[in-house]
Structure formats: structure tokens, C-alpha cells
């Protein structure tokens, strides 16, 4: 296989890795916020349920969760899952897993806000929702950004776990080319691809952090 073909194949795999990455962030960031609300809720059952959810998501390997989400419908209900479910399953598994981590990050940010801010907002006549949206949440984002960057970078590397469902993302492709070529060169190229993508994301997150560093 010519080097250019290998690059092209891995590039296509990279696009698939990036789509897992982007869709996972799109779903898990909002979902995580709702989970963190549940986790901090005054309702005992909701709070308990979210605690259990986070505990399971963080306490079991993501690879096993991928298998569970994909094959679950068959093993549990004997359902015929057909051919189109693979990518959906990957996005569901990644999103619910990352939402658990993001929820705890949000919680750390929200709980770090001083009660004085809520009191002041109340005196100024802010409703509960606008207190959160206009005063608390912007500060939370600023405060949790470094932790979020951590998770986001981990996510890029975790997309390679989709190989366990044989989805043709970059790591799966690299493995296949390595088998065909009977050498490990594709892994080296894949490593460079991952590194460059990560460096880019880290750079963008740093810019974002800087743009938010008002008041300091």
C-alpha cells in the first residue's frame, strides 16, 4: 500500500473519529448539566438515582459499556438490531459515559459559588432561573474550563475504543492496514494524527480560557 493511500485511509478514519468526538460533546455537555442538577436536587430519589448513574458510568470500563449498549437490545430482549445501529450505539455509549464525568465537573463549579452571590441576586430581584443563567453559569464555565479540557482531550483518545465494535474509526483502520502490511507503521502515523488533533484542541481550549479571563 502506498504511503499516500495509507494517509488517505487514516484521514477518512480520522473524520469518523472526529464525528464521534463532536457528537459526543454535543450530547454529553448538556446531558451532563441536567445530570448535575439531578445530583444536587432536593428530591432524595432523583439525587440517589443520579448518584447510582454516575457511579455505574464511572465504575465500569467504557469498552464494556459500548458492548452493552450495542448488544444489550439483543441479550436483554432478543431484539434483532439490524445493520444501522452501530454508530448510534457508539454515540449513545460515549454520551452517557461522558455526561457522568461532565456532571461532576459542573457540580464542582456550581457548588464552589458563594451563597452571597445568590443572596445578592435575590435582593436585586433576579428570579431563580435568571440568577443561574446570567450570574452563576458564566462563572461556572470559566472556573471549570481546565477540567473540561482534560476530559475533552481524553475523549479524543477514547474514540479509539470504538474499535471494539469494529467501527471504522482511525484506530480500527490502523489495525487493519497493519495486518495487511504486516508492520506497525500505520500505528505510528495514527499516533501523529491523534497528537496533532489533540494539540489543536488544546490550543483552542487555551484561547477560549484566555478569552474568558475577565476580572482577573
Amino acid at each position: 500500500m502506498r504511503f499516500s493511500v495509507m494517509l488517505q485511509q487514516l484521514g477518512q478514519g480520522m473524520l469518523k473519529s472526529m464525528s464521534i468526538f463532536a457528537l459526543t460533546l454535543l450530547f454529553s455537555l448538556p446531558l451532563g448539566l441536567f445530570v448535575s442538577f439531578g445530583r444536587m436536587s432536593r428530591n432524595k430519589f432523583l439525587r440517589g438515582a443520579m448518584k447510582v448513574y454516575i457511579s455505574i458510568m464511572r465504575g465500569t470500563p467504557l469498552m464494556l459499556q459500548l458492548l452493552a449498549v450495542y448488544f444489550g437490545p439483543y441479550y436483554l430482549f432478543g431484539a434483532n438490531i439490524g445493520g444501522g445501529y452501530r454508530f448510534t450505539a457508539i454515540i449513545i455509549a460515549f454520551s452517557i459515559n461522558y455526561a457522568a464525568y461532565f456532571a461532576e465537573i459542573y457540580r464542582s463549579g456550581i457548588e464552589s459559588m458563594s451563597p452571597g452571590q445568590y443572596e445578592a441576586a435575590r435582593l436585586l430581584g433576579y428570579s431563580r432561573s435568571s440568577t443561574f443563567l446570567k450570574i452563576i453559569f458564566p462563572q461556572v464555565i470559566k472556573r471549570i474550563l481546565p477540567s473540561v479540557t482534560n476530559e475533552v482531550i481524553t475523549l479524543i483518545k477514547d474514540t479509539s475504543l470504538a474499535f471494539s465494535l469494529a467501527y471504522a474509526e482511525m484506530f480500527t483502520i490502523a489495525k487493519q492496514i497493519a495486518a495487511k502490511e504486516t508492520n506497525f507503521m500505520p500505528f505510528l502515523v495514527a499516533a501523529v494524527f491523534y497528537y496533532v488533533f489533540n494539540a489543536l484542541v488544546a490550543f483552542l481550549m487555551e484561547r477560549l480560557e484566555k478569552s474568558m479571563s475577565y476580572y482577573t
Binding site: 500500500m1 502506498r2 493511500v5 488517505q8 485511509q9 477518512q12 455505574i56 465500569t60 464494556l64 459499556q65 458492548l67 452493552a68 449498549v69 448488544f71 444489550g72 437490545p73 439483543y74 441479550y75 436483554l76 430482549f77 431484539a79 434483532n80 438490531i81 439490524g82 445493520g83 444501522g84 445501529y85 452501530r86 448510534t88 449513545i92 452517557i96 474499535f163 471494539s164 465494535l165 469494529a166 471504522a168 480500527t172 483502520i173 489495525k175 487493519q176 492496514i177 497493519a178 495486518a179 495487511k180 504486516t182 506497525f184
Partner: protein, 282 residues
């Protein structure tokens, strides 16, 4: 089994909405989706199924499947799978068959098979200078094998070569043969047990490795369908006959250098056509 139980338990714990994209089995052809044959294969298994120079999936089995789909007017979907998960993939309906140098011996109860079409053997590769020249020399050595493969079944407890397997120092499992071979080269393995077709592909591309003269067994490849899916198996059997008669089968066997291993003629009772096709191919 352990994996299945773990997976099931985890599922019970997760009550997320998991139902999506379900389809119902078609009656007349036994396909999961009418007009579409989804072939599950290990894309790291040359020469039967792998990625070619252009980045497309190809191989003896996949080209054969392509030819079969042409006869039936089906669309072929080449679905790479993780070899560990092949049962779950097949039973859950995400693929229609396992068609990828798939050993039928010892698996007869777990799948519905097509007629066998290739004579396979499980063999052992070692480095030329390893000092290992017979199966007996493997005593106390570290031997690598693909997880969930026929070679593993053979060497594990209950397999036909279990006594031999018991003499090994360690029987180390790998997700794919390429990794096992890399370990062999790096010296962390003394030998790798695998299918002869794949072994030939590996050693022909490298210097200094040999296949031991003693084979572990003789067995056959067939196409595996979900247990009880006789409808699809019968259609495929009929088409294999057609592909043999019109010479396509032997042509592909020559192309992938496994012509002296195929056995479709004997299983179909078509001895004479075989010689004709061979002379044609020459």
C-alpha cells in the same frame, strides 16, 4: 460466556432507551434486510478478508461473496467485526453470516453452516533459528493464538490437541494475528498457532520464519449462519455450486494462492469440473 454475562448485567443496570434501528428477519431468503447480504469478517485476516492497496476490503471470501451477490441480485455489505464479538453480531442480526476463513469443525452445534469449501489446517509458526522443529519442542514455551479462534479451541481444555496445549508454558491470547506475529518477532513469544492460509501470508512477507512440518489438525472452512437459518444456507450452497461450475470459484482460489487447499468440488461431488477449471486456470 463471561463477557456475555457481564454485558447482560451492565445492560440491566442501564435503563437508557436502547431500542433503535431494529429490523425484522425476512422470510423467503433468511436475510435480515431483504436484498442485502451483510457479511461479517475480520478485516485483519489476509488472504480471506483484509484491506487492499487502495484501502478497499477484499480477499478470497469477500470476492466470492461479491460474485454470489451478483447471482442473487443482492447488495453486498462488507461489515468488519471484532472477532471476539462474532456470535453476538450474528445472533443480534447485525450481520447475516460469518464468511471469513471460518472453521466449522467443533462449531457444528453453534451455527448453521454452508457446505465446506476450503481444507484448512491449524499450524504453528516459529522463527527459523528458534530450535523448535516439532510440536514436542513447544514444551514450556510461550505460544500465541488469536482469541476465540479455531486454534485456541483446539489447544484449550476439551480440544483435540489439549494434551499438547497443556505442555506449553503459556498459551497467550491476542485479539489479532498481526499483534501475535509482532510479539513473535520481538521475541516475547516462541511460536504462534493459526490457520495455514494466514500463516503463509505472514511468512511469505517476512524472512526467517517457518511453519512446523507437523500440523495441529485438518479441518474445513464453511460460511457460518445463525443457528437455524437453513433458508439462507441453502441459497448460498446452491450459488456456490453455480460459482464452481462457471469457474469463478477456482479463478479466485488461484488469485489468492489457495487453489491447492479448496475442497468445494469434493463436498459438492463435482470431481471432474475441478480438473477442467484447473486446466483452464493454467
Amino acid at each position: 460466556m463471561k463477557k456475555q454475562i457481564l454485558v447482560s448485567c451492565l445492560c440491566l443496570a442501564m435503563t437508557a432507551s436502547l431500542m433503535g434501528g431494529m429490523s425484522v428477519c425476512a422470510e423467503e431468503t433468511g436475510l435480515n434486510t431483504e436484498g442485502k447480504l451483510v457479511v461479517g469478517f475480520d478485516a485483519e485476516y489476509p488472504p480471506y478478508g483484509y484491506m487492499d492497496d487502495n484501502g478497499d476490503y477484499t480477499g478470497f471470501d469477500l470476492e466470492l461473496a461479491e460474485a454470489l451477490c451478483e447471482i442473487e441480485g443482492w447488495e453486498l455489505v462488507k461489515q468488519p467485526i471484532d472477532w471476539d464479538s462474532k456470535d453476538a453480531e450474528l445472533n443480534s442480526g447485525s450481520i447475516d453470516c460469518i464468511w471469513n476463513g471460518f472453521t466449522m469443525d467443533g462449531r457444528e452445534d453453534a451455527y448453521t453452516f454452508s457446505v465446506p469449501y476450503v481444507n484448512n489446517s491449524e499450524v504453528v509458526i516459529t522463527a527459523e533459528n528458534s530450535g523448535i522443529s516439532s510440536l514436542a519442542d513447544l514444551e514450556g514455551k510461550i505460544v500465541g493464538v488469536q482469541a476465540d479462534s479455531a486454534a485456541l479451541t483446539l489447544l484449550e481444555e476439551g480440544g483435540d490437541q489439549a494434551d499438547l496445549g497443556a505442555t506449553f508454558g503459556t498459551l497467550q491470547q491476542f485479539a489479532d494475528n498481526n499483534t501475535a506475529f509482532a510479539e513473535l518477532m520481538a521475541g516475547s513469544l516462541d511460536a504462534v498457532a493459526l490457520d495455514i492460509g494466514v500463516a503463509l501470508y505472514q511468512i511469505n512477507r517476512r524472512e526467517g520464519y517457518v511453519i512446523l512440518d507437523e500440523y495441529l489438525n485438518a479441518e474445513k472452512y464453511a460460511i457460518g449462519f445463525k443457528k437455524g437459518n437453513d433458508t439462507l444456507a441453502e441459497i448460498v450452497n446452491k450459488d456456490l455450486g453455480i460459482l464452481y461450475e462457471n469457474g469463478t470459484f477456482m479463478e479466485l482460489a488461484e488469485k489468492y494462492e489457495i487453489a491447492d487447499m479448496v475442497c468445494l468440488a469434493e463436498t459438492l461431488g463435482l470431481g471432474e469440473a475441478a480438473t477442467e477449471a484447473e486446466t483452464e486456470a493454467e
